[in-house]
Amino acid sequence: MHDIRVLVVDDEPDIRATVAEMLQIEGYSVEEAANGADALVAIEQRQPDLILLDMRMPVLDGWGFAAEMSRRDMVIPIVVMTAARDAARWAAEIAATASLSKPFGFEDLIRTVREVRGAA
């Protein structure tokens, strides 16, 4: 379980920090990115095992990020996290593995991450 790297992509710094802390307590190593473009830079440098992806972001949104990943033939499990009602639909649109509806708690987050890791 150690050394599982998770990339948290969200334009809200407080959300990023909160999600990161929750994951770190459970022993994941976490990197953060404020939008899709930053996330692309991050995964180029070091490929994470899992991406937690907000959809509505400035510069490059979740859809743009996912499209760019598939263009580069990168296959990394993605969990969509969004405050919109269409979390599941958006997840399906970008072929993400799972989705998390905001607000989600500690248990939801960790269970989803574990499930995705188990499936991968």
């Binding site: 334009d11 809200e12 710094p13 407080d14 959300i15 920090a17 909160t18 999600v19 802390e21 929750m22 307590i25 404020a34 400035p58 510069v59 405050a83 919109a84 009602r85 509806s101 905001k102 607000p103 989600f104 708690g105 500690f106 987050l109």
Partner: protein, 631 residues
């Protein structure tokens, strides 16, 4: 049978047919004009019939010729009466006409044997004088009329001219037999043309009626096409009345609109004001209540209570037709003029048609209104749904942080109760709680604005006091504000809490979009009768084409959406609603060097200084000075 004989017979048949047609109409609708028309052609028709009988039986007698002449004398008299019906004549003309007719008829019956030439001469003069007078009068009435009436009057005038011409030819033929070969056919041809013209005038075929009506109807329809879009009742009524008056060629029309329950009727008056009366008032009201067409030939006498109204409007004759769509009683169309309609059934038909068309317009308008109200309600529902969905979305983000941070605290506490509290986590909880509070209060504000409008509590307050209170709460090292204020109080009538809310919103907005810690400039001054406030930032600015849209609900500038901050897009909408509710305005200009400047203008109370500065007795000195110079 020769061609001439054939022509002779055709004429006879046509005159008798015409007599039957107008006689039948006079029997069905015994109006004065119809009876006089029957009299005119009754005279001619009887002469023709007697001629027929003598032709067939071979019976002839001088007294019979005298009778024929006497009967023929009816024609000018009937024409004279028709002229009075259509055009109006002085009373003495009618009296003189009747006397002449009686005298000539008696002359024909009693003296024809003794002095046929005298009788014939008198008759011909009688025909020429009255016929000429009538033809001119009919032609003039025709020129003044429109559409169908005009066509019919012109035909009647032509018929009279031709008829007289035929009589004159016959008369000369009687004195100059050598003209026989020419005068015979000529007289018959003229008589044929006359009877055809009379047919067109007094009993026009349906296709001709349609053709004569068509241009006016078309112009009414063309004018009325746009009327269902007219918002204002007053403008609609006036335009419909004008269009109906033009189409009918009458001096006056009045369109009454019934109230929804049908108990009152509303008319628009000449000065543009509405006159609301009980539904059964006026001739129109009677037609409306009875739901049938009404023709009144002496309005003042028939409705003595409103005699003055009719007299003032020169309304002697009134036609009133209910405006009704299916079962819906919408109102009544009243047409009035200073004389009876020439061809009552045609005019009634046309007024009814205009009333029906008016009903169509009113119904179309009502339906359009209902549809737009329905659309408005749907819009409001959609907006509310969008609002709730946007609100739910925006509330979830701070909630995620709150829930996550609280669970982290709990978890850490469970692991190690003595561990120090994480200050960054606490800061996040506080920050996001505040954000949540702001969102909730914005939501409540927006809801309140929709439901009750701006607060009614409008005590005069000094703008400076409000601004200072905002600055105390707002200005900080992270959010520097450069205020520029005068010292004279600027009083406005607005709830201070509301004004604070506006200024807070603008300062919040400026801070949100500020770049690199540049100070927000806040200016307060008085400009004429307005209190003015500007909040200028040096932030990202707002694209020019979006500077009015940002004051709409849920609108966020395109470049704001790309930033990480969140908001419901309600702040500026609330500002606008608050200010407009207090007679104020808000707009955006570009800050010199980039950024946005929000301008606020609110009606200011006159300052006490203005009252004090006014000259105490501005006119008191002048007379004294003048008196001095005179002395």
């Amino acid at each position: 049978m020769t061609a001439l004989e054939l022509l002779f017979w055709v004429n006879r048949v046509l005159f008798v047919a015409l007599f039957i047609a107008v006689g039948w109409r006079a029997f069905r609708q015994p109006t004065r004009a119809n009876l006089n028309t029957a009299l005119l052609f009754g005279g001619i028709g009887t002469v023709v019939l007697i001629g027929l009988v003598t032709d067939v039986t071979g019976f002839t007698a001088p007294w019979l010729t005298g009778l024929l002449v006497a009967l023929l004398n009816v024609c000018p008299w009937a024409m004279l009466r028709l002229v009075d019906d259509f055009h109006g004549t002085p009373r003495w003309v009618q009296v003189a006409g009747m006397m002449t007719f009686i005298a000539l008829a008696a002359l024909g019956l009693l003296l024809f044997n003794e002095a046929p030439l005298l009788v014939e001469l008198a008759t011909i003069v009688w025909f020429l004088v009255v016929g000429g007078y009538a033809a001119v009068a009919f032609a003039r009435t025709g020129r003044r009329s429109r559409g169908l009436t005009r066509g019919r009057m012109v035909a009647v005038a032509a018929g009279v001219y031709l008829f007289i011409a035929a009589i004159v030819v016959v008369f000369f033929a009687a004195f100059m037999p050598e003209l026989g070969p020419v005068s015979g056919p000529l007289a018959q041809l003229l008589a044929l043309a006359a009877v055809v013209a009379f047919f067109l005038g007094f009993a026009p075929p349906t296709w001709l009626r349609r053709a004569w009506r068509e241009p006016d109807l078309r112009s009414f329809l063309e004018r009325s096409v746009h009327l269902s879009g007219v918002e204002d009742d007053r403008a609609l009524l006036l335009e419909l009345q004008r269009a109906a008056a033009d189409t009918l060629g009458v001096p006056g029309t009045a369109l009454g609109l019934a109230s929804a329950d049908g108990t009152t009727m509303r008319y628009v008056q000449a000065d543009g004001s509405f006159l609301e009366v009980p539904a059964d008032t006026f001739v129109g009201g009677r037609a409306f209540i009875a739901q049938k067409q009404l023709i009144v030939t002496d309005a003042a006498a028939s409705d003595p209570e409103h005699a003055e109204v009719y007299t003032n409007a020169h309304a002697l004759v009134v036609i009133a037709v209910p405006v009704t769509a299916e079962q819906r009683r919408l109102g009544v169309l009243t047409v009035y003029g200073d004389r009876a309609p020439i061809f009552v059934e045609d005019d009634l038909w046309l007024v009814q048609l205009l009333a029906d068309q008016t009903a169509v317009i009113l119904e179309a308008r009502r339906m359009a209104r209902e549809a737009s109200e329905l659309r408005g309600r749907e819009d409001a529902t959609t907006l509310k749904e969008e609002f709730l969905s946007a609100a739910a979305h925006d509330l979830r983000t701070p909630l995620t942080v709150l829930l996550g941070q609280a669970e982290l605290l709990e978890r850490r506490l469970q692991k190690d109760p003595t561990a120090p509290v994480d200050p960054a986590g606490i800061a996040r909880i506080v920050r996001e709680s505040r954000r949540l509070r702001d969102l909730v209060s914005q939501l409540l504000d927006a809801q309140r604005l929709e439901s009750v409008g701006p607060s009614a509590d409008q005590q005069p307050i000094d703008v400076h006091t409000v601004i200072r209170s905002c600055l105390e709460r707002y200005a900080s090292a992270e959010r520097p504000i450069e205020p520029a204020m005068g010292s004279e109080p600027i009083l406005v009538r607005m709830d201070p809490v509301r004004l604070e809310q506006v200024v807070d919103n603008l300062l919040e907005n400026a801070a949100k979009y500020a770049r690199g810690g540049a100070a927000t400039e806040l200016r307060v001054w008085r400009e004429e009768a307005e209190a003015r406030i500007t909040v200028a930032d040096h932030g990202i600015g707002i694209p020019a084409e979006e500077r009015t849209m940002v004051f709409e609900r849920f609108f966020r500038a395109s470049n704001a959406q790309a930033r990480s901050d969140t908001g419901l897009g309600l702040g500026l909408y609330i500002c606008r609603r608050l200010l407009e509710g207090h007679g104020g305005r808000i707009w955006i200009e570009e800050t010199a060097g980039g950024g946005s400047t929000f301008h606020v203008a609110l009606p200011a109370e006159p300052t006490s200084g203005e009252v004090y500065d006014a000259p105490a007795e501005p006119t008191g000195m002048a007379p004294t000075a003048e008196a001095g110079s005179d002395a």
